[in-house]
């Protein structure tokens, strides 16, 4: 059953599902904005200082937003039995998985990227940094979504998987965040920011190649009970 469950079918369905709960579409975005605004509240309103840490803070919050919204990537499919149906469908499940991850990115990574200049403004980021930051976020959040999906697959059968997911995935995020925030920082310092961006791109390519496969086998594993 579930015969033509390819990439597009899952992409379309997940977008439909997210769209049904209107409140959910905006959630990662608002989390992103709110969490980032907390930083000046808790640290200092000093623009000079904020400027230096702005790209980093934006990246950390983007990372957390992606991570948190990924938690439910497979959860509802697991609970209602859809995941079991997917696993016994004749196709390879790599394409559906990729479809789901794409839907996730379209509803978190992409809006985050688009809204990041606003945060840049709030955190006094120099305007030169906007474009590199957005480019970095666009590519980097792709990696983040894929890695988060791997974590979500590993913890799908655990009732309280959210935090555990964080624990597992965060160390893997390290390179992404370093190169990601470097993209913006380089450009502010007048260095060539295409270097770190290229590395981010390479990491994305690697993640696209490996993660869906890993996720598929993990899903088979963790859903057996």
């Amino acid at each position: 059953m579930i015969s033509n469950t390819g990439f597009w079918a899952f992409l379309r369905r997940d977008l439909l599902l997210i769209n049904r709960r209107r409140g959910e579409v905006a959630s990662p975005l608002i989390f992103f904005i709110m969490a980032a605004t907390f930083v000046p509240l808790a640290t200092t309103p000093d623009a000079e200082l904020l400027k230096d840490i702005a790209p980093g803070i934006i990246w950390v919050m983007a990372l957390l937003a992606t991570l948190l919204s990924a938690e439910s990537l497979f959860a509802s499919d697991y609970q209602d039995g859809s995941l079991e149906q997917l696993l016994i469908s004749p196709q390879l499940i790599v394409m559906p998985v990729l479809g789901k991850v794409t839907a996730h990115w379209l509803t978190t990574g992409l809006p985050l990227t688009l809204v990041s200049p606003l945060l840049g403004l709030l955190l006094s980021l120099p305007t030169d940094g906007y474009l590199p930051m957005m480019a970095g976020l666009a590519v980097g959040t792709g990696c983040l979504s894929l890695l988060a999906a791997l974590g979500a697959a590993l913890t799908v059968s655990l009732p309280k998987g959210g935090l555990l997911l964080t624990l597992i995935v965060m160390p893997l995020y390290m390179p992404v965040i370093i190169f990601g925030s470097a993209t913006a920082q380089y450009s502010i310092q007048g260095l060539a920011w295409t270097g770190p961006l290229a590395i981010l791109g390479a990491m994305l390519a690697l993640a696209i190649a490996l993660c869906p496969l890993a996720i598929s086998s993990v899903l088979r594993l963790t859903t057996i009970n």
Binding site: L164, P171, T222
Partner: protein, 255 residues
């Protein structure tokens, strides 16, 4: 090629019985190496010209760092063998290597931090190697947490094996990126990445300590795997037999 030996090695019983034979010897060797190395290093090796006596912590720090890293690869390899050949023993090794590795990583961090105070003036510095060691600790903790989060041992084993493997892909990337990050931001305040051209009198006890730590790691791992084997196989006849013998022996000794 005959693969029998390979599968026999996968048998917990074989492992238990063969290690019983040579474990005492290994333990004795470990003791000699560690005790000898410590006494040599702490009491007889010459003082460092710049750092004075504080450098002596190197005899714990470097071996612990070595084994923390090597232990991760051992754990991941054991996980991979378990996934590919479905060997119970291999999962047990992985499971026991995780806490051991985490403890060693912690020891490396701790000794490093203690050493950092006199040399760098602060316990912590966001240096490349130091940071990647911290991430290594997180990776270990992730594997451990995932392992115990599953109610089913089988699923827990496989899931954490996969995580350990993914981590192995990442360790070089993490290391490279942190290294790169460090050189970007901060002018080299203190670098300890270049191997210090050490005086042989200091270096020889260090070698002994490293060897001793390797042996210690092996002994600790084997011991905890043996406990794990007894727990998992407690229903089998050979374990029951052994338990019966052991209780009789102690009873006999008590009487």
């Amino acid at each position: 090629m005959n693969w029998n030996w390979f599968y026999r090695m996968g048998s917990p019983r074989w492992f238990y019985e063969s290690t019983s034979r040579w474990l005492p010897w290994l333990a004795a060797l470990t003791f000699v190496l560690l005790a000898g190395g410590l006494v040599w290093g702490l009491a007889f090796a010459p003082q460092d010209a710049k750092q004075g006596n504080s450098f002596r912590i190197i005899y714990l720090h470097v071996p612990a760092s070595f084994l923390a890293l090597a232990g991760y690869f051992l754990m991941a390899t054991a996980g991979a063998i378990g996934l590919i050949w479905k060997m119970k023993l291999s999962y047990m090794v992985m499971k026991c290597a995780a806490p051991l590795g985490a403890v060693l990583t912690f020891l490396a961090l701790f000794t490093g931090a203690v050493w950092g105070k006199p040399t760098w003036g602060s316990y912590w510095v966001w240096d490349a190697r130091v940071t990647s060691m911290l991430i290594l600790l997180f990776l270990y903790l992730g594997v451990l947490a995932l392992q115990y989060a599953f109610d089913s041992k089988d699923v827990g084993n496989k899931a954490s094996a996969i995580l350990a493997l993914v981590g192995t892909v990442n360790i070089p990337i993490i290391y490279k990126s942190v290294d790169w990050w460090f050189t970007l931001h901060q002018p080299a305040t203190i670098r300890f990445t270049e191997a210090p051209s050490m005086h042989p009198d200091m270096f020889q006890p260090l070698l002994v300590m490293i060897l001793g730590f390797y042996c210690f790691y092996a002994v600790a791992l084997i011991l905890s795997v043996r406990v794990e084997i007894l727990a998992r196989e407690r229903k089998t006849s050979w374990v029951r037999e052994r338990v019966k013998q052991a209780t009789q022996n102690t009873l006999g000794a008590g009487l």
